[in-house]
Amino acid sequence: MSVFMDLNLSFCADKSRLRSLIETAAHLGFSTVAVNYTFEPTAKKKQEIPAPMPITDLMDQLPVVQGRSRPIRVLNRLTVVMSDSSHFRPTAPEYRRFDLLAVQPTSEKLFHVACMTLDIDIICITVTEKLPFFFKRAPINGAVERGVMFEVSYAAAIRDATMRRYTIANATSLMETCKGKNVILSSAAEKPLELRGPYDITNLGLLFGLSDGDSKEAVSSTCRSAVLHAETRWTASGIIRTTKTCSVTPIQQEAPPEESDAPAAKKAKLEDE
């Protein structure tokens, strides 16, 4: 297991609220969080992709993780809500400002494209409405092999009873198809009181149809794999990326085998079933 992460804290312009979100996450024991900027392109007018707010603008000193002596790590993440294939622009330089890249496809066709081809780290599963399509095994297996993660967020389930039903139903259908592989659980919280502790989320995962082990990995190791996937994505495309830490080199060397752990053996097993 690795440290606990919450890769989806909703960005809000209110700095003090965002600050208290990060502080609460640190207090609950999350060592890494990602501030999520949602970008929803519409056909009518051209919109700017948001630029991430530097963390130094937000707080001078990062809060210390509960029970530990080190400060929390804050990443930036962009989620593109895709209702058309043109909404994702793989070459957009704006994307490179973010540590993590996610899409939320709204149709079966776009879901297939996101699983099989798009250069992204996370695919968000809709939790606020009835799933507009059924999950198929082929795209999901494709995503698992490429190391792309599926994200289920739980804050909507706390806000509203109807959303709670959609969240559980959509999450359960996902788990039936992906068998608990490559699933991350995150909050998508807008307020500190919508955040829950890592062990609570692990338990909640059982409700979504995850096993004990998969559920705990969904807030720890699987999130870490998503972060590593994001780190390798930039170097894989041949672009040199400057980083602050010196420990990045060994991590990157180690990352590819971890992702390729899945293919041969597991694929064979899946086909047997």
């Binding site: 297991m1 690795s2 440290v3 606990f4 060592s31 029970g67 530990r68 002596s69 359960t172 788990m175 039936e176 608990g180 592989k181 062990y199 692990t202 338990n203 059982l206 409700l207 149809g209 995850l210 096993s211 004990d212 082990g213 998969d214 705990k216 990995e217 720890s220 190791s221 060994p250 991590i251 180690e254 971890e258 752990d261």
Partner: protein, 313 residues
């Protein structure tokens, strides 16, 4: 997957009855086995007046422990394990992919002597490649002063005294027939009652009360008073042994039908428990034993663990 919400989570409880007089009793070795003790609680009826662990979390970070017998255990995540380059084996509690590895080193081995081959290799790994930084809890052992001083002089350190708290419990209901011949209730209800006593939870409910239906196991008696003492900190098995001897002396001096109950909690995030067995955390990393002693030298030992642990000896 969706239907087994009702499953009982994994737990293990070993309940033993034996006597101090029994030559084959294993109590001293059993006390030795849990090296890293966090808290000792003692419950006395009718009486009015308890080495090294890092501060990290075993299910998330790298954890290291050193036991007095010279056994160094490192529980490392995959990255750190590969960087360290010392032989180890995958953790028993890995899930799908091997993410955690345990490196176990016997420091008393000849090649681990300062300057030895193994020693240099491990030192190189730890010093130049891995560069772990941790806070350690060390326990001071009388007689080992000099070497400890030199070690401490090279690091930031502060001294912490174990924290002692004392409570007198009055009008405590207690399972009757708490005698050496027959422990009237099953181990789980006994431990529940003991926990309630230490947590100051009232057992004075009826089974129909709305808030809580916790009741003292039947048949029960009432104790006018009892003493609950607890000590928190890093405590050594030697300390526990000494305490055990004192309690036995006290029990022999006191009147019949007397008993005492000693509970020792291990560290949740210790990489080892019950000897050198691997220990982990799923929901909680509980590992403790509870020793119920009687004046005629008979004792009941309850050893309890959570989900990620081996069966106690």
């Amino acid at each position: 997957m969706t239907t087994d919400l009702d499953q009982n989570p994994r737990s293990l409880l070993v309940s033993e009855r034996s006597s101090f007089r029994d030559l084959k009793n294993r109590i001293s070795s059993q006390v030795e086995q849990l090296h890293l003790n966090y808290k000792v609680s003692l419950l006395l009826p009718e009486y009015s007046f308890d080495r090294s662990v890092p501060r990290t979390r075993i299910d998330e970070d790298n954890c290291v422990s050193l036991t007095p017998k010279g056994h160094l255990t490192l529980s490392l995540d995959k990255d750190s394990f590969e960087v360290l380059g010392v032989e180890g084996k995958p953790s028993r509690f890995n899930h799908r992919v091997k993410k955690r590895f345990v490196v176990s080193v016997d420091l008393t081995d000849s090649c681990m002597a300062p300057g030895g081959r193994g020693y240099l290799r491990l030192l190189a790994g730890l010093k130049s490649r891995l560069r772990l930084k941790m806070d350690f809890l060390l326990s001071h052992h009388p007689g080992g002063g000099a070497s400890l001083q030199t070690l401490l002089s090279r690091h930031d350190w502060s001294e912490h005294r174990p924290e002692v708290s004392r409570h007198t419990l009055t009008h405590l209901s207690c399972p009757a027939l708490l005698t050496s011949d027959l422990l009237s209730c099953d181990p789980h209800s006994f431990l529940e009652w003991l926990g309630a006593a230490h947590a100051h939870i009232s057992c004075g409910n009826t089974s129909s009360s709305f808030l809580s239906s916790l009741v003292c196991p039947e048949p029960k008696t009432a104790l006018s008073r009892a003493l609950s003492v607890s000590v928190c900190g890093l405590l050594l098995p030697q300390d526990i042994h000494r305490l055990l001897q004192q309690i036995r002396v006290y029990l022999e001096e006191s009147h019949l039908e007397s008993w005492a109950c000693l509970t020792v909690h291990g560290f949740v995030d210790s990489p080892v428990s019950w000897g050198a067995n691997e220990h982990g955390v799923l929901r909680g990393g509980e590992n403790f034993y509870s020793l119920l002693m009687f004046h005629d030298d008979v004792y009941y030992l309850h050893q309890a663990t959570g989900a990620h642990d081996t069966c106690p000896p």
